[in-house]
């Protein structure tokens, strides 16, 4: 996918409704749900057997850079806007931009011991503050130091529109990306999510 150059302030690009996002090509992705049988504890495997993991199956992404930072705009349909835990009923919705940390890290398992995945992570209950996480398998994430990830999100008309941004220096071309989404009202968290199944080449223009 093409991360077009937009000579704009980061503040502008962090607005998912900024008119300038119209200039960035839209890429429509079909998502898959992770497998219950591949989850890391017997409890999760049993409790989720036969349930649909990954209720979000379509995602539209755009990418841009302003020479300083890299921006991804994610948009998907989600009728339930899960901003927090709703008193123990839901989990906050979440999404992540994924980068392979080493080779062809398997997306269907969120990486392996040898092949990690780096994630720029947004969660609906954390206002503007993203996380940079390193995965080596489902639910193994550990925060990475000194890696500021900024986010902005709006839920309008049954759709999430989320911008996730990080320093361009971390992923200058050539880079590959993929995406993951967690639907909180479907109790999705940890390794229970939907993901784009192929690594996409990221081209900076």
């Amino acid at each position: 996918m093409d991360a077009i150059k937009l000579q704009l302030a980061s503040k502008t690009l962090l607005n998912p409704f900024a008119a300038q996002w119209e200039r960035a090509p839209r890429v429509n992705l079909a998502l898959r749900g992770t497998e219950a049988a591949e989850q890391p504890s017997a409890y999760i495997r049993t409790a989720w057997a036969g349930k649909r993991v990954g209720s979000i199956r379509a995602l539209t992404v755009q990418a841009a850079n302003n020479r300083q930072d890299l921006f991804f705009r994610l948009e998907w349909r989600d009728d339930t806007c899960d901003l927090d835990y709703a008193g123990g009923v839901t989990f906050p919705d979440a999404a992540a931009v994924l980068f392979p940390a080493n080779g062809d890290a398997p997306l269907e398992r969120m990486g392996t011991d040898a092949q990690g995945i780096e994630a720029w992570y947004w969660r609906a209950n954390r206002n503007g503050t993203g996380e940079c996480l390193r995965f080596h398998g489902f639910a193994t994430e550990a925060p990475m130091a000194d890696s500021p990830v900024t986010t902005a999100a709006q839920h309008r008309n049954g759709r999430w529109q989320v911008v996730i941004s990080g320093p361009l220096a971390m992923h200058s071309a050539p880079a590959r990306v993929a995406f993951a989404v967690w639907d909180g009202s479907n109790q999705e968290r940890a390794g229970l999510h939907s993901y784009s199944p192929e690594w996409l080449e990221l081209v900076l223009s």
Partner: protein
């Protein structure tokens, strides 16, 4: 402290509550509350609670929420909701005490009207007067031998301590995914909404390391609870659980092998319509106790009645002497160090107190 393999322990700390002696005073609940759950996000957390039985308990109808193991296979469970927990309310103290309207308003929770709480159905019980019945049951984390919570955590954030089997959580690894809440069949794990981590009873391990019994044990004014290592053959816990087999685990069918045990209650005899004793059947239906403690409760009740008969006829019973607990500190030796004599190291933000 040793994490070992994190799944099993060389020794196991255990507790026995005598439901014949518990008077529902909540001193254990408050001792725990004051010591451990006063931080942000813990308002509603009561790691130790005492509920009236028969009753719906805390959280409300927790026994229908699933979890645990059946034939060794984990069972799906669900998290209790904030409404099912209840508690942690703010009250209109200002209005009642200082507004000048004290004759018009009454003390009540601010905001949405509470529908349930930690002790909501206190003393309701069951049955019809004059044969109504109830008793109290303290509950806390069972520090199970096969903890479903530890198995469920996908991050390995939970473990059983090698030296005493206490189930702990490394909060720095916890990401708040709450599979432990779902998997725990006793629903004794709480989610801290402020810190976004799960939390539960730590069996006062910093006290144990100083030979001080857990706060809920030491503070019990009714001599209703014993504490010790399950394999300490000279200790009362071993004698009550293993030797006399009168202390039973709650819901053994949940498959987690809990380490909090209960002496089943024997309530006063029923009354006939003309106010004579009716000993043809117990006031508290044995079927109710079987539903909590399994089939073994019949033998336990028989042993208790037999040994009570021994003392009634002037004989000597080791079991009755243990249950009477003539010497308070014998109930939790060797964890009988006076906490007031210890120079505790405190975290800067914690509340000052001593001697709990």
């Amino acid at each position: 402290m040793s994490r070992g393999n994190g799944k099993s322990a060389a020794k196991q700390a255990a507790m026995v509550f005598d439901l014949n002696k518990c008077m529902g005073c909540q001193t254990c609940s408050v001792a725990c509350k004051v010591l451990w759950t006063r931080d942000a996000g813990q308002d509603y957390q009561w790691w130790c609670t005492v509920n009236t039985l028969p009753g719906r308990g805390h959280p409300k109808d927790w026994e229908a929420m699933g979890g645990g193991f059946r034939d060794g296979i984990p069972q799906a469970g669900r998290r209790p909701t904030s409404k099912e927990w209840g508690g942690g309310w703010d009250f209109n103290y200002e209005e009642v005490m200082y507004s000048g309207r004290g004759q018009e308003v009454h003390l009540e929770a601010v905001g949405e009207k509470p529908q349930w709480g930690p002790n909501w159905d206190e003393d309701q019980g069951a049955g019809e007067y004059p044969n109504s019945y109830f008793y109290y049951m303290p509950r806390l984390c069972n520090h199970c031998t096969k903890p479903a919570c530890v198995e469920a955590c996908p991050r390995g954030a939970m473990y059983k301590r090698e030296e005493d089997g206490i189930v702990l959580r490394d909060e720095s690894r916890c990401r708040g995914y709450q599979f432990c809440l779902e998997a725990c069949p006793y629903k004794k794990i709480y989610f801290n909404f402020a810190k976004e981590v799960s939390q539960h009873c730590i069996l006062c391990y910093p006290r144990l390391e100083q030979s001080v019994a857990p706060a809920c044990v030491r503070q019990c004014p009714g001599r209703a609870v014993w504490f010790g290592m399950l394999d300490d053959e000279s200790g009362p816990v071993h004698k009550l659980v293993r030797k006399w087999e009168v202390a039973l685990p709650l819901h053994p069918e949940y498959g987690t092998e809990p380490n909090v045990f209960y002496i089943p209650p024997i309530l006063p005899a029923r009354l006939t319509e003309d106010n004579n004793f009716d000993e043809s059947r117990p006031r508290l239906p044995t079927e109710h106790l079987e539903s909590l403690f399994g089939a073994g409760v019949r033998a336990a009740l028989e042993t208790l009645r037999r040994e009570m008969g021994v003392t009634r006829s002037g004989g000597k019973s080791e079991l009755m002497d243990t249950l009477i607990a003539y010497w308070w500190k014998d109930m939790f030796k060797p964890f009988d160090q006076d906490p007031g004599e210890i120079e505790w190291q405190r975290a800067a933000a914690s509340q000052p107190n001593s001697g709990w």
